[in-house]
Amino acid sequence: MNRLPTGMYLPGDSPIHRLDPRVKLLGLFISVTAIILVRPLIGYGVILAFLAFTVALSGLSIKIALNSVQRLSWFFLVIFMMNTFFYSPENAWFSWWIFTPSSAGLMQGVDVVLRVVFALVASNVITSSTAPMEITNALEALISPFKLVGIPAEQIAMILSIAIQFIPTFSEETEMIRKAQTARGARFDSKKLTEKAAAVLPLVVPIFLSAFKRADELSIAMEARGYRSASGRTRKKFAPLKVDDYFALLIVIAICILQILIR
């Protein structure tokens, strides 16, 4: 593996990097809403322009922004085909067995794929420009109002932050075990599905064992340092929102409202 994992945080000093993580998370939520609401062609243009502007401002490469789009190409193809062939029997080009391809379906296919790509790009920009801990902090801040209805915001944030912290550890360990087993003669590149399933065992068993061991050690380490419950803990205070933050929020809200108005 000599490739960066998808959505990995890439430190930088762009205006997007500097935005308050709460604003970024909320902004992502609102932009995805706008992407779902988009109806006329001009709406797509607005979204596209907005995304292009954000990517350019973030200083991330197009490659990073389109990360995992290529990997999901099969998924896109399937969605596209399903829509094209099964959308509606009305005005179908022809009808054969269960297939009723139509131009309406074709449009619908393109539409769905575009929306997913847009949402992917938006989330890529956020995850690549925000440190994982910032994201969990922001998430905690954003869901803390729901504490009133009994949602354990701190616990959720703690679980998430532990999970996120362990991603690099586990990907490193997986890589190492994969190499060790490969060197012993394991094959992970087999074409046959049954062999493929059997081939993951030498990977999955050690990873699971190590995950349990680490979880044990972590819980002991946390207890040893006096951890009791996530509630009532102090946490990092966010700096007050800056002009940029308000401006960014204003833009996404405006775009979202625009999409509703031109529907």
């Binding site: 000599n2 490739r3 960066l4 890439l10 430190p11 930088g12 360990e173 190492m176 075990i177 190499k179 060790a180 087993q181 490969t182 060197a183 012993r184 003669g185 394991a186 094959r187 065992l201 030498p202 068993v205 050690p206 064992l209 190590s210």
Partner: protein
């Protein structure tokens, strides 16, 4: 036939801000039957080097040639490489996964094309070679064993393919003194039987006592490549670079600084002993 590394370079995450150079225009030859100790500070490129030799990743530039063939060539048989080069990573016990010791050790031979009897023989040989009782342990679950036994089983899993080149990454870390001695003895025993040993270690003593050739890396380049006797000659340089020297070599260095005539290629305890005895005799006289 030797291992030849020709102008190999390797960079992690090229073209990103995480870009880091691991090896730079690196050339090295390791002869058959050699026992090579590799030293260097963390991040100097040791791990990258051994993974390139094991064919676990191709160099970005340059070639790795084993037995006269480029191991990263498209038509190079991977299976042959896997059997020829064995690699024991740090804490190899994490690679255990099978339900019995015997099955786990035999795992690497599944795709080898060897006959069942040959595989069974190899497995028995490997388990006995690492100093375990084959009959007593064959049906045990690898997870019920002690830490030291687990490591031996994992090493047996690599040895079962009877590799001609055995790469060891920090193999003695976390072993007790007896386990350490037994393991190092195993490596010299294999080496005497013709296996090329490449051992990465921060433990200068283990390297000085066992290796014939010592390689020291610094920032992805070769700093020292010399017979073990000469590799530790420049004590000041090694100390400045933060690379350990064996206690025997350090002792010889200090004693000669005090005016005792001790050859500067003394690196092993057994070589130092006669001089110590002589000095002791001189003092008591």
């Amino acid at each position: 036939m030797p291992i030849e590394i020709k102008h190999a370079s390797y960079t992690y995450f090229p073209g990103t801000i995480f870009e880091s150079l691991a090896l730079q225009d690196f050339s090295l030859q390791i002869d058959d039957g050699d026992y090579v100790g590799i030293m260097g500070k963390t991040g100097c490129g040791k791990s990258t080097l051994i993974q390139l030799i094991a064919g676990l990743m191709p160099p970005l530039e340059g070639q790795i040639i084993i037995d006269g063939k480029d191991i990263n060539a498209r038509d190079y048989p991977r299976e042959e490489l896997r059997r020829k080069v064995g690699i024991v990573f740090q804490y190899p016990e994490v690679q255990l996964f099978e339900t019995s010791v015997e099955k786990d050790v035999a795992f690497g031979l599944r795709h080898s094309g060897l006959s069942k009897t040959t595989i069974a023989e190899n497995v028995r040989w490997a388990i006995e070679t690492v100093g375990l009782d084959f009959e007593a342990i064959r049906a045990e679950s690898p997870f019920s064993l002690s830490g030291g036994e687990k490591r031996r089983v994992a090493i047996a899993g690599v040895l079962a393919a009877k590799p001609k080149i055995l790469i060891l990454d920090e193999p003695i870390v976390g072993l007790d003194p007896r386990g350490r001695a037994a393991f190092l003895e195993l490596t010299t025993h294999l080496n005497a039987a013709g296996v090329t040993i490449i051992m990465v270690s921060h433990n200068a003593d283990a390297i000085a006592e066992n290796a014939q050739r010592v390689i020291v890396l610094e920032d992805g380049r070769l700093l020292i490549n010399a017979p073990a006797k000469h590799a530790f000659r420049d004590v000041a340089l090694l100390q400045e670079k933060g690379i350990g020297i064996s206690p025997a070599r350090e002792m010889a260095h200090l004693l000669s600084a005090c005016g005792h005539p001790i050859p500067q290629d003394t690196i092993r305890y057994q070589e130092l002993l006669p001089f110590l005895i002589n000095i002791g005799k001189g003092a008591s006289r």
